[in-house]
Amino acid sequence: MSTIIETPPQATGNKVILCEGNEAAALAVALARPDMVAVYPITPQSSLVEHVAKLIAEGRMDADIVDAEGEHSVLSALQGGALAGARTYTATCGPGLAFMFEPYFRTPGMRLPLVMTIVTRDGITPQSVWGGHQDAMTVREAGWIQIYCESVQEVLDTTVMAFKIAEHHDVMLPVNVCLDGNYLSYGASRVEMPDQAEVDEFLGDKNVNWHVALDPLRPMAVDPLTGGSGGKGPSSFVRYRRGQCRGMQNALRVITEAHEEWAQRFGRRFAPLVESYRMDDAEFALMTLGSMTGAAKDTVDEAREAGKKVGLVKIKTFSPFPVEALKQALSGIKALGVVDRAVDFRWNCGPMYRETLGVLYRLGRHLPTASFIGGLAGADLTLEHFHRVIDATEALLDGPAPDEPVWLNAND
């Protein structure tokens, strides 16, 4: 339950509240005024959709809510809603996301600009209900935009921005706002609430189904068979896929513009794609994603005080992968340690590490690197862990790079 703790005089109607990440996401959804929300509870997402239901029941949000019989139906219902012109929202995680996969894969192909929070949770099996990035990482090839948040405030602001990004004419793709299960979902902190009128102006008119619609005035067969067997031949399929890829690449610019406009209007500036922290004269760096970044930044500060020339690069937008922004961020360093909260089973490393190897290839120079895997199933990533990451990455400057990933919580 949120509590209004102060009203800063300089803010035009802004309120400062104390709330959890799940509630911040729900409040952001209310600010974005969706027409339709569909839900199915799952740990650690449940309180998020309960907050949405509460806002609707209290009349603070005017949306239809569908309490569905499972996540597959949730996303299918939203597809129907979006095709009929509704601004739509849902949230899920872990096994719920896995169950949703069939409509999940179709949504970007239909260019439906839904917004869905993933309250990130580790993948089962082994059975676990705790946080981790394995769920979102596992579906990263499906064509959704995926943006990870570091703080509760960033959850609120990014969730509002997600609707603008998704519905941008040059994008028209669904967006996942990823907030870390446990740490952000239940972690309470001070949050500044943007003013509703300002948000309305920021988001502008809804732009959901101009291109594909279930509209009796414009009859069209949505998603007919393409390809060689009964369709028009491969060219139409290729045209759609290329368009989808173009939308993803356009998103890099649109996400940057949305963050810039957000900073201008609301005074809070977040790095849209990649954040560089103490990187100016850094000799080596660590790379992070999501809520672990806070502890990592504190550790970098401590290491700097001890004379180590270390910096930090945080990825915010993971899909589309911010290749150019990362090239710039990593151009001056001599060694890199990447910390993942998920695994890439094929390469025996973290998924963000594997993606980053491609960027280093584009940079055209060899850089010693190491993959660190930690924070699985809700395990803590503390200053002590990040000191180990910093020491091991520093050792890459003069020593051999490990062939195996370093498992940070193996002895915890």
């Binding site: 509870p41 309490d67 169950f99 059975q127």
Partner: protein, 279 residues
Amino acid sequence: MEAVSACPSFSARDYKSDVKPVWCPGCGDYSVLSSITKAMAELSVPPENVALVSGIGCSSRIPAYTNVFGFHGVHGRALPIATGLKISRPELTVIASGGDGDGFSIGGNHFMHACRRNVDMTYIVMDNEVYGMTKGQASPTTAPDWEKSKLTPEGTGINPFRPLVIALASGANFIARSFSGDPNHSARMIAEAIRHPGFSFVQILSPCVTFRPEQRDWKAGIRQAPVDATTDAARAARRLMTDDGFNIGVLFRGDRKPFQPSMKARVESVRDLEKEFRI
């Protein structure tokens, strides 16, 4: 019933593991666990010949608390897993168990098809008309005007699912209802369900004292079904359609042949298939 062979006697304790349940104090599922182990003792089926498969939810934790082969599946999927298991190892006694959210919502489709397929196994649903594990949301058996869920604060407005009626219409071969407050009765129902060939469905009303404390009053409403089990599906349909949900006992006992595909290969080789298609 072939799957249950006569063996040296066992006590209920032989089927319990030493893992302590994490259910809330007063949860009906404690009694159901005890009834399942009592039923197995009554049948004297060796623990290693029993497989207990569940989905996700409070009640789906039950395999960990028993000493038989257990599998904790994904949400709603206990029945397909149990089906595969029984078909590949027909000599085992296979029990699927879980809650009303798991079985009738996300797994609802499997419930109908498991009844229709009529594989020789037993499905025990601990029904408390609520999702307990995710902290109190309405399930498919929740009354439409229940307003205590934060997810549906004005009630769901949707007619509740009627599991026994649907089981009958879908082809279940044995249908019973029991109440966790009467563990001896539940144990009898479970033992009968296991003995009966084909797909047996046992609904056990099992109060959720945390999110549905009013269900403590169920005890007062529970009564033995006034008539004996029928083998006539039409009569059973009339009884189940008019029943208020509190009649306990065996309500239907069918005589359909269980589905058990032969594991033997039907053709020797692809050449045999080719011969059949030669014109």
